[in-house]
Symmetry: C2
Amino acid sequence: MEFNRIIFDEFKHIPLFQALDDSQLEAIFSTTKKMALPPKTTLFERDSPAEHFYMLHRGQIKLFFLSQDGDEKVVEIIYPNQTFAEAVMFMPEHIYPVSAESIIESEVFRFDIRFFRNLLGNSRETCFRLLAIMGKHLHARVNEIDNLTLHNATYRLVVYLLGQLPDSVTELSAIHLSIPKNIIASRLSITPETFSRIMMQLSKKGYIEVHGNDITLLDVDGLRALL
Amino acid sequence: MEFNRIIFDEFKHIPLFQALDDSQLEAIFSTTKKMALPPKTTLFERDSPAEHFYMLHRGQIKLFFLSQDGDEKVVEIIYPNQTFAEAVMFMPEHIYPVSAESIIESEVFRFDIRFFRNLLGNSRETCFRLLAIMGKHLHARVNEIDNLTLHNATYRLVVYLLGQLPDSVTELSAIHLSIPKNIIASRLSITPETFSRIMMQLSKKGYIEVHGNDITLLDVDGLRALL
DNA sequence: TGGGTAACTTGACCTTAATCAAGGACAAGC
DNA sequence: GCTTGTCCTTGATTAAGGTCAAGTTACCCA
């Protein structure tokens, strides 16, 4: 990719890259490709050979898998400035365990796994950073299994809503759902119908107020008490 | 721990340790403790500070978490010669994400995380091994989420049974459930009652034959076809 | 050898959330 | 404007699996 100061500076702020020096960053830079993705563009597919990992620059990406009969489960939603599929670098089979597709028009940077892996040999600190990232992912997955097996749909939805709060706000907080409800539903492993019904229940009980994708949490403490 | 040639040789075969030289291994050895665990002994608890990881030498350990009202979900079952809780080494908060308890009388080796982490700085190859292990764990968790969200209880149970087969045997294969059925049930996120009923159904349909913990898979291809 | 406990099974019933079906809201394009 | 498609909502129904309760089996240990 042609050198671009602004993008280069952006790279410096990627957590995974923080321990690298300028010459290493430049090397990565020169092997990187910037890609524009129209909405609903497949970036990679589950079980296909993994040669790249990515950083989302603009837009939204969903990571998901499909069942035999076409049901989709969204595992994670990627927001700008997040790297994703880094974990695949050290997966034994070198295949993607999930598929990735843009939700809206997006831009990603594509990094070469092989190249980065070599670079990793020279930077213990970057190794440690990658380990920390994998640890975080692993923890998140374990928590998801907890949520799926020990908690019901309402619990998961309320956790999601509270998670959308900017900080520890306690009253009358407005949140905006930036992704379609059916994708949030899939992320939470519930059907769109059930999602809709639970939102209606929470409204009726006075916990929230819904106007399309804008939601006001009328009673944050009440919602917390549901957990 | 007092030096013991036999145990020392055993350490050499732990995947995570394979890249270490004898002096490094000896250093680990000297900071290791062998622990005997009676049945149902807690080894560590979820959310408690993580200072050690372990290798199971003999017995069986379950990794699990509890819901507020005491329901238990078994996340993984550890068999001899497996290391576990290594992933915690690089988790940001340094706490165990799950609890661990012996199922039967067991023996574990306990390793110091801090010490091993330092050692990791001098062994790139060991870093890579740990990364590979974390990658494997992560993949396993993602697959579990797939199973939980996209497949039903029968599917999960059949996958488990087929997974117990030594190799790609195709007919009249006997397997033995070495762990209590209720723990397998929890591992598969189904109740003991449902577990029992599904086994009965599979028996009635002629796929399997059950005598206590000894199960004969009468029709392996038929079972595979259910998936 | 018998008593006690934990594990397992079975039956009846219930709850949760999925499915099926229909209609409404909204935006994009002609 | 109207059409088309996508997303969302709502209602009626169903299915899967959980819960509760009662027994049975198996095993441990005095």
